[in-house]
Amino acid sequence: MIETENLTRKFGELTAVENLTLKVDEGEVFGFLGPNAAGKTTTIRMLCCLIAKTSGNARIANLNVDNPQDCLEIRKIVGVLPENVGLYDSLSAYKNLDFYGKLYEVSPQRRQENIKRLLSLLGIWEKRDDLVGTFSKGTKQKIAIARALIHDPKLLFLDEPTANLDPEASKTVRDFILDLKREKRTIFINTHNLDEAERLCDRIGILKTKLLTIGAPGSLERDVQTRKTVVHLQRVDDQIIAAAKKLRVVKDARTVDNKIVLDVDDPERDNPEIIRALIEAGGNIQFVTELRSTLEDVYLKMIRETGAS
């Protein structure tokens, strides 16, 4: 559905996106993670034909973002939720959606049905005739999402869909995106929210001008992971620490309160040996747990490594 090859965008001397090569399949939910000014919004804008690329190639559903005629076709099959909702405050929710439905060339009957369906799903059908200017941020965001879907697009670009929303509104929006995922729509999400990315996305790319890494959330976590075994003891002393450090399978050991955190390659294989050694050293083990890497660890590692280099 989305294919880019060495996609690059420069603003004067500043490179916003550099050599981005990416493929997003139909029905996939893809998340772009990255700090501010990483080039996430610029990427979406290039893919939606809102701004031109400097070099490289990008295709949406086999249509070229370079070609003005293709761009009109791309805009018909793409729905966009920009960072700023950009609704008309002096118009009602219904009129806002009706206006965009007309511009997307949706027939009057389908427009009416879609507006009712979307506003009902988002729980704001009752407010359809109220002026948008009177709504909270969360409600405006919901209307903007409905606007992005008014023409039943195959591909949806969501730029920070839950930014600045309270937890309840964020949950509604996230649940709605999950519903869209079940409908097998292709969704491209820009987000700062790691938890959201992990919950919603099939694959995640970390961008900081360049694409730093890409993969399924689980595989990314495994890639950076040094698996850790955490042994909870009644009391930790030097003899126990020394016994742990002496083991060949333990790469590193440190204490946190009454716990020993051990870096190991394969806990399933190594834990029995570790437990035996600690008991022999006089340790009273309460329980053993595993500390797994999170997407946050992956993200921070990638961003810091880029910063350092």
């Binding site: 603003f11 804008r45 939606c48 809102l50 701004i51 031109a52 009109l72 076709e73 805009r75 018909k76 793409v78 966009v80 920009p82 700023n84 909702v85 950009g86 609704l87 008309y88 405050d89 002096s90 118009l91 009129k95 206006f99 965009y100 007309k102 511009l103 997307y104 060339e105 903007a144 606007r147 992005a148």
Partner: protein, 243 residues
């Protein structure tokens, strides 16, 4: 260009303008002043036995004011066209729709042109009613509409309005603040007003011929400015450089 698409943009702008009291009252005030207050003040100051030729000459000068109104009013509305969208941050979703630059520009221009001309014509209708009431009571004749008036209202005023709309839409797509758009937009209108005022004082040219000359010059300017508006309208610049 698909005119029905441009019309969608136009009708949306009408709905937005209707809710904006500043635009609403500005559009009403000026035509009423020129159509009601000025002719009443002028006619009240004329003796009842003023010769018809003198009254016609004065009226021909006053007629030109309707072309001036038509060129001033768009500074109020057209300055809102793109800047208003910028303020609401609605340009990005608007540009993301399958709508061409020409359709957007034409739709926005039409949204500014139609209410301005409607207000001008309402003002002109009030003016004609007052002048004819006075002339019928004092001279027993109806002085308006005459050929000069018809040419100004039918040709010069719409062209002056289009010219002003185009100029203001160009300004509106290049600045990011409504006030700045209005101020620069007002400057754009000055040459048009200057030409109209100077033209109305050239006594050696018959006024109907003058109206024709002005209309011809404006028609050329309208075409040139339309292509200039299309050439200078850059979505990317509007999106990436607004503050």
């Amino acid at each position: 260009m698909r005119f029905w698409k441009a019309w969608i943009v136009t009708t949306k702008d009408f709905s937005v303008f209707r809710k904006n009291k500043y635009i609403f009252y500005s559009i009403i005030a000026m035509p009423l002043m020129f159509g009601l207050v000025f002719p009443v003040a002028m006619l009240m100051s004329l003796p009842a036995d003023t010769p018809t030729e003198v009254v016609t000459l004065i009226l021909n000068m006053l007629n030109m004011y309707f072309a001036i109104i038509a060129s001033i009013l768009p500074t109020v509305i057209a300055s809102y066209s793109f800047v208003g969208e910028k303020v609401e941050k609605s340009l990005e979703p608007l540009f993301a729709t399958p709508t061409t630059d020409g359709e957007l520009l034409f739709g926005k221009s039409l949204a500014a042109f139609l209410p301005c001309m409607l207000a001008t014509y309402i003002g002109a209708a009030v003016y004609v009613t007052i002048v004819n009431s006075w002339s019928y009571l004092n001279m027993g004749v109806l002085l308006l509409p005459n050929l000069t008036f018809a040419m100004i209202i039918g040709l010069v005023a719409p062209l002056a309005c289009i010219l002003s709309v185009e100029g203001n839409v160009i300004v509106s797509s290049r600045v990011s603040d409504v006030r700045a758009a209005q101020q620069i937009g007002s400057l754009i209108v000055l040459p048009i007003i200057l030409v109209l005022v100077l033209g109305s004082t050239l006594e050696f040219i018959p006024t109907d011929q003058l109206a024709l000359i002005l209309a011809g010059a404006m028609a050329i300017a309208v075409v040139v400015l339309f292509f200039l508006a299309k050439a200078t309208f850059r979505r990317e610049e509007i999106l990436t450089k607004w503050k």
